[in-house]
């Protein structure tokens, strides 16, 4: 028989406001096995925990029930408390009388009645608890960073700095990501390339970091500390080790009309290309969809001009298999397609562009060499209209766009407007805004400068229609302050398109069994207290894959993710979850039902010798669970036809005891 202690928490008035805590602790006193029952204002406080520890010793408790907030909140806390008093931590059960009782029910009799029942269920369960000891597994001291933008770069550099090897997997031919495409950065206006490219060089030169560019993660198996990952290195038809990045091939390639994705299709590149001058690795890549040699065997110019002999038309995709202890997701974002917002005439006029395209138009390395020229006729625009919140903050019922605020648009639009007025004071700049959101250090000051010093016209309202006519874009919008409809003949319209997670994120989340929200942003383990960890152990989040972020925020999250990875890799062994499946070998008939449903391949079979009742021995095939691989879902326990498989910590008998207690 267990000796159980019950501890009912008031949580200030959070619980005590709706639940008569004294009545609960009194009622539970009479439950089977309970030898001690009390209540206290804050069980999770030092004093509350000491109260538990003292009771364990004084009453020689073998199990405890804490009636408090959700176990997702403080189960770990109370397990540690029990352990400190010499009790096995898995002899602790929590009755959730806050989130699932006091906070959702209004009157005291109802709340109290339910709290008592939940307490009884927990007591019934603890009566059947057994001490559990977690297993241990080794940690592979290598990290994988998926995505080579500023988030991935910073995370990799920080992990490597602590002495652990890191691999970066990037789908594009170069690392650098979106930041490499930007011109200046807010609110300081330092140039993006000037602060990013030295970091890219650091990555290239760091002997702890390997870059798999033009590569994709294909398969992830295993678990925290022990991931087995397959990386597909796509054929770039250039030997990376030999290519010097001289660029001779990219000048001589006769295929000149391939839209240049780095400049968002606003100019062309060759079939063999280096995305931009500071690319890392600085090696050429052949685009197989554009190269005549690869398509029909007719050309071969690049091989002829390559002094190093790096061109290899026969190169094949390569699969790299590697073990990692931790994985960081840094897959970043993209602007959404403007297809469904054609009231702004994006598909009808070259002079209606997105903000990212505007970045390229003002970038010295962009298609216009940094001169602000409108794409249709390369003339200098004299009137520019910026439209904010295009596709952001849309209700789901509007069936297009995103519900969330994209967060970065207010600031980059202020930046764009300011830069235009600074370089071209003859240009009138209008910004249509719904709200200007500038919560950040020096952000509002920056926006005010755009208005007050640079004379940008901010109009509170939205644009309803953009009509290309002649050489002009007729912009029709509303000015809510003046209560009038405004009509502006613009030369260039810039849309602050909402941002969304990269398309690769969803399949990756499935591979990692990491959860995502409805917008395909990765979910953090806790929105406030564990913002850089995924709920899946060993998977960490860096940058905009978790939600819209600007550069400073991304870099700080990247560093935080790195420190979590370092904390993990610094351990030699990890203690596992002891709540895993365990077969009763005497009942197992070796049918393989459990093996077939196990998503982790944790179940294997062995032939074992058993003594039979008549004292003969028999060899029987029985299931075995690998404790390092089993994650404790319990699928096998239900699949088992003989009832041999059970789940520790959530045993059938325990759950039935709970059912019985609830249905009394």
């Amino acid at each position: 028989m267990q000796r159980i202690g019950v501890f009912v928490c008031w949580c200030g008035s959070n619980i005590a406001g709706t639940v008569d805590v004294q009545a609960v602790s009194d009622a539970l006193k009479n439950e089977p096995g309970v030898v001690f029952s009390t209540n206290y204002q804050y069980m999770c406080s030092q004093a509350g925990q000491n109260m538990i520890k003292d009771a364990i010793k004084e009453y020689r408790l073998t199990g405890i029930v804490v009636c408090s907030c959700s176990p997702r909140m403080h189960e770990a806390t109370f397990r540690k408390t029990a352990q400190a008093a010499g009790l096995n931590p898995y002899m602790v059960e929590i009755a959730n009388i806050r989130e699932q009782c006091s906070w959702v029910h209004k009157d005291i009799p109802t709340g109290t009645e339910k709290a008592i029942i939940l307490g009884k269920a927990a007591v019934a369960k603890v009566n059947l608890n057994a001490p559990l000891t977690p297993g241990e597994s080794p940690v592979t001291k290598r990290a994988l960073v998926i995505g080579g933008g500023i988030a991935g770069i910073q995370t990799a550099l920080d992990i490597a700095d602590a002495g652990f090897p890191v691999d970066i997997v990037e789908t594009k031919p170069t690392i650098g990501g979106k930041m490499a495409q930007l011109d200046k950065t807010f609110p300081t206006l330092d140039c993006a390339a000037c602060i990013l490219t030295p970091k890219m060089v650091d990555v290239a030169q760091n002997d702890k970091i390997r870059i798999f560019s033009y590569s994709e993660v294909q398969e992830v198996k295993g678990f925290v500390g022990n991931f087995d990952v397959k990386i597909k290195k796509k054929a770039r038809y250039v030997n990376e080790d030999i290519c010097t990045g001289c660029g001779a091939c990219t000048e001589k390639c006769p295929q000149k009309n391939v839209p240049n994705e780095f400049n968002l299709g606003m100019d062309n590149r060759r079939a063999i290309y280096i995305p931009f001058a500071q690319a890392v690795p600085k090696v050429a890549t052949i685009d197989p969809n554009a190269c005549n040699m690869l398509k029909n065997g007719k050309c071969g110019v690049c091989a002829k001009v390559c002094a190093a002999g790096a061109i290899d038309y026969k190169q094949q995709d390569q699969i790299i298999e590697e073990k990692y202890g931790a994985i960081v997701v840094a897959t970043g974002f993209n602007p959404i397609s403007m297809e469904k917002f054609d009231e702004f005439a994006y598909s009808q006029s070259k002079d209606v562009i997105t903000s990212l395209e505007f970045e390229r138009l003002t970038n010295a390395a962009g298609p216009t060499a940094g001169k602000l020229l409108r794409p249709s006729d390369l003339e200098h625009p004299h009137t520019i209209v910026f439209v904010q919140c295009v596709g952001s903050r849309c209700a789901a019922c509007a069936e297009k766009g995103k519900e969330y605020c994209s967060k970065i648009c207010c600031m980059y639009t202020a930046k764009h407007a300011m830069l235009v007025r600074d370089k071209y004071p003859d240009t009138e700049v209008y910004v249509f805004y719904i709200d200007v959101r500038t919560p950040g250090k020096n952000f509002d000051e920056f926006y005010r400068r755009a208005v007050e010093e640079y004379g940008v016209h901010y109009i509170k309202g939205m644009v309803g229609k953009v009509t290309p006519e002649g050489k002009k874009l007729k912009v029709q919008g509303s000015d809510l302050i003046m209560d009038e409809q405004v009509h502006i003949d613009a030369d260039l319209v810039v849309l602050a398109a909402a941002i969304e997670p990269d398309k690769s994120a969803r399949p990756l989340a499935t591979m990692l069994t990491a959860s995502m929200d409805t917008n395909d942003f990765f979910t953090e383990a806790h929105p406030k207290l564990r913002p850089v960890e995924s709920p899946t152990a060993g998977v960490f989040l860096s940058g905009a894959c978790q939600g819209p972020k600007d550069i400073p925020e991304t870099v700080s999250q990247a560093g935080a993710a790195a420190s979590k990875v370092i904390g993990l890799l610094a351990k030699d062994k990890l203690t596992g979850n002891p709540c895993i499946a365990s077969p009763n070998e005497l009942m197992c008939n070796g049918c393989s039902s459990c093996e077939r449903v196990c998503p982790y391949g944790a179940i294997t079979y062995v032939d074992k010798e058993f003594r039979m009742p008549d004292r003969t021995t028999a060899i029987r095939r029985v299931a075995q669970v690998n404790p390092a691989v089993c994650q404790g879902c319990g699928a096998c326990t239900v699949a088992c036809p003989s009832g041999a498989m059970d789940l520790r910590g959530f045993a059938s008998a325990q759950i039935i005891a709970e059912v019985d207690a609830i249905c009394k």
């Binding site: 009231e343 919140c389 903050r393 849309c394 209700a395 789901a396 019922c397 509007a398 069936e399 766009g401 719904i434 509170k460 309202g461 939205m462 644009v463 309803g464 229609k465 029709q476 919008g477 509303s478 000015d479 809510l480 209560d483 409809q485």
Partner: protein
């Protein structure tokens, strides 16, 4: 808000199916409205004024008969508020009040020309009268 205004507001919300609280005050409805200049109260004001229960001015404004029901505001509203349906509801409440028909059959002949399609007449009647 007075009881009478509140009742009116409830009625408008019920017959239009529009929830004015969904509006985020971006003004895109009024930005896209082709009849903006003809109107005293504009689509976004209809939404805000109904939400505030300030409905009497709307019932008496000519703006009710300037809305083209072209659904541009409905299509482009980022929050799915559907202002045109609210304008229609106000118009109905106004025309359902006795003697509030905006157009009378006797007025029609003066407005006709030989090419005017029937569609215009029946549409106008449906919109302006009860």
């Amino acid at each position: 808000m007075s009881q009478q205004n509140n009742n009116l507001k409830e009625e408008l919300i019920r017959i239009s199916g529009v929830n004015p609280k969904k509006c985020m005050r971006c003004g895109k409805c009024s930005a896209t409205c082709p009849a903006y200049e003809e109107m005293e109260y504009h689509p976004h004001e209809f939404v805000v004024m109904v939400e505030n229960g300030n409905i009497e001015p709307l019932l008496n404004t000519e703006s009710l008969y300037r809305c083209l029901t072209c659904f541009a505001c409905v299509e482009r509203c980022p929050r799915g508020v559907e202002p045109a349906k609210l304008v229609e509801a106000v118009r109905l409440v106004a025309t359902r009040r006795q003697g509030a028909n905006h157009m009378k059959a006797d007025d029609v002949p003066a407005k006709l020309d030989e090419d005017l399609p029937q569609q215009a007449i029946v549409s106008a009647f449906r919109k302006y009268t009860k």
